[in-house]
Symmetry: C2
Subunit: 315 residues, 2 copies
C-alpha cells in the first residue's frame, strides 16, 4: 500500500487522520493527504516511487504551453476522494476535536510543478521567475484559483480550519517573496473570506517576513523551529495566533530531552493566549510513536503549569 493509495482511498485516509487523535490525544485532526493532489487534479501526472522520497511529477512544466494545458479543476469531481475523506472524518470525529484541511501555497506548488520534485536549488522554478515572470504569474494565478475552489469545497465538506503551507517561500528574496508568493496567499485568503473559517499560513523561513504574513489576512502564522517565539510575538502583537515551533528532529531524542525542550519553548512564549503548539516543520516519518506521545504529554503538563502561575499585576 503506497502513500498515494492511502491518500486516494477515503476509508483509509480517515483512519490515518484519526489515529493521532486516538493514540496521541492531540487537540485537532489534520486530514491525511498531500499538497500535490491539487496539481494532479489540474492535469499533471503524479507518481510515488518507493524509497525515492515523496511523490513527484515525472513530466514537470517547462513552457507556457505546458502551463496553458492545465485546467482549473472542479473539486467535486477530480478531488472527490479528498472531500469524501473530509466528510467521513468529520462524522467519525463526532465533535471530539476540530478538523483541519490544507493546501500548498501557490509558489510552493509551482516550484514542485516546474521542478518535478524538491531539489537543491529549484533552478527551473527560479529560472522562470527571473526570465519569464509573466509565465510564472499565469501559472500562480491558475493554481490560486484552483486552490480557492478546492478549499471552499473542503470547508463545505467539513474542514473547520484551513492551513496553507509555503515550504519554499524562504528561498526567495524579499521582493520576489512579495510578488510571487505572498500576493497569491492573500488572493486565496480573500477568496475564502465569506466562509469565516480560520486560516493558518505556515512559511518555512517565516522569520524574515513575519509582519507581512501577519498582515496577509491569515488568522494564524505557523513558524519554523528557528524563529524565537517571544520575539515573534513582540513583532506581530496580538494580531494573529502563532503556531509552532519545535524542531521535528527533537522527536528523535530521548523523552526527557523532548520534555525539557517543550518546557523551554512554552516558557519562552509565556502564559499569554494565542499560541498553538506544533512542530516547526513536518513530522519525520521515522519518529517513534512513543516520542510523539511524550511530546503531547509534555505540552499538556507544562502549559497547565505555566497557566496556573498568577498573572503579574502590571499586565
Amino acid at each position: 500500500m503506497d502513500f498515494l493509495t492511502l491518500c486516494r482511498t477515503p476509508a483509509l485516509a480517515v483512519q490515518v487522520t484519526i489515529q493521532p487523535v486516538d493514540r496521541l490525544k492531540v487537540d485537532a485532526a489534520i486530514l491525511f493527504s498531500d499538497i500535490l493532489v491539487l496539481p494532479e487534479a489540474m492535469g499533471m501526472e503524479l507518481v510515488f516511487m518507493e524509497g525515492r522520497g515523496g511523490p513527484r511529477f515525472p513530466h514537470p512544466l517547462r513552457s507556457r504551453s505546458d502551463i496553458e494545458k492545465l485546467t482549473v479543476p472542479d473539486p467535486s469531481s477530480s478531488l472527490s476522494y479528498v472531500l469524501d475523506a473530509l466528510r467521513m472524518t468529520r462524522r467519525e470525529l463526532n465533535g471530539r476535536v476540530p478538523l483541519i484541511g490544507f493546501a500548498g501555497a501557490p509558489w510552493t506548488l509551482a516550484a514542485y510543478m516546474l521542478e518535478g520534485r524538491g531539489t537543491a536549488d529549484f533552478r527551473h522554478a527560479k529560472r522562470m521567475l527571473y526570465e519569464n515572470p509573466l509565465d510564472l504569474h499565469i501559472l500562480l494565478d491558475k493554481i490560486s484559483r484552483s486552490t480557492a475552489l478546492y478549499l471552499r469545497a473542503a470547508v463545505e465538506a467539513g474542514a473547520q480550519v484551513i492551513q496553507l503551507f509555503d515550504t519554499w517561500g524562504g528561498i526567495l528574496g524579499r521582493d520576489e517573496f512579495h510578488e510571487f508568493s505572498l500576493r497569491y496567499i492573500r488572493q486565496i485568503i480573500e477568496a475564502l473570506e465569506d466562509l469565516a473559517v480560520p486560516v493558518i499560513v505556515y512559511c518555512r523561513d517565516a522569520g524574515r517576513s513575519l509582519e507581512d504574513l501577519a498582515e496577509s489576512g491569515a488568522h494564524g502564522v505557523g513558524l519554523d523551529w528557528r524563529v524565537d517565539l517571544a520575539a515573534a510575538r513582540l513583532k506581530v502583537g496580538a494580531a494573529v495566533a502563532l503556531q509552532g515551533n519545535l524542531d521535528p528532529l527533537l522527536l528523535l531524542a530521548r523523552p526527557e530531552r523532548i520534555d525539557r525542550a517543550v518546557q523551554k519553548l512554552l516558557l519562552e512564549f509565556g502564559p499569554a493566549a494565542g499560541h498553538i503548539f506544533n512542530l516547526g516543520h513536518g513530522i519525520l516519518p521515522d519518529t517513534p510513536v512513543e516520542n510523539a506521545a511524550a511530546c503531547v504529554e509534555a505540552v499538556r503538563k507544562h502549559s497547565a503549569a505555566i497557566r496556573r502561575q498568577p498573572t503579574p499585576r502590571w499586565t
Copy 2:
C-alpha cells in the same frame, strides 16, 4: 582530473585561482580549495565520487571516541599543499589583487563530519547537539583550534583576507546558533586578532542573526541572496562591511537580466562605502563564463554610475 586532485596540486590550484582574475577581472582572488581539507588533515578520510555531489566522508563521526581520535594538525605538514598554493598564487598575482584564504565555520564542518555529506535534515549532527551537547562542544573546540592554526599559517603563507563560511548555521534555532556556531566563530576571530587581517564571515540565513554576526569581531559579514541590503545596512550601521548578495541562479539568466538585477541590488545599497559585491552563495558549477563576465561588467558600470551621483547634502 578530479576536484580533490586539483585542490591538492598547488600548481593547478594556482591556475584555477588566478583564472577569474585574468578572465573576469574581479577585484580579488580566492584560493581554489575546499573547506573539507581541514577535517581530512584532522584524520578523516575524504573522497570524491564523480557525479555524486561534492567531496564526502565515507566514515562520518558517530561517537565520542571517534571525536577523540581526531588530531589538531600541524598545517605546515598535513596542509602544506594549501600553503604552497597560497605562496605560489601570491607570487603569481604580484600585487594585482588581494588574495583571500578561507575555512569552514566550525559548526558547518562538524555538521559535515557527523553527517558524511550535505543531507536534507542533518539528523546525526542535530542528534548529537540535542542528546550529547558535550560531545559536540569537544568536537567544535577541536575544529576551532585546528582552524585557527590553519588560518594563521595561511596568512603567513600569503592570504591577505580571511573568509569563514557558515553554510549551515541557518538550520539552528537562535539559542543553538549562539551556543554551537557563533561562539566558535568568535573563538577563531579572537585567535587571529594579532595578525590584523580582515575577516569576513558568511552565514547562509545571516538575516536572522545579522546584529550578532556584526558584533562577532568580523570586519565584514557575507549575506545570502534573501537579505535586503539596505535593511541590513540600517540594522548593523557602519560597524562592518557587507558582502553579497546576488542569487547565484541569476547567473543562469540572460546577460540583460543579470545587468538589471545587479543594477537593482547596487541602487538598493546606494552610494555609501562598505559594500563588497558578491554572489549570495557559491557560484553554480554550470554557470556560463560569459554570464559571470556580464555580471562583473554590470557591477563596474552601475557602481561607477551610482558613485558619480552627487552625495545629498544632508549626509
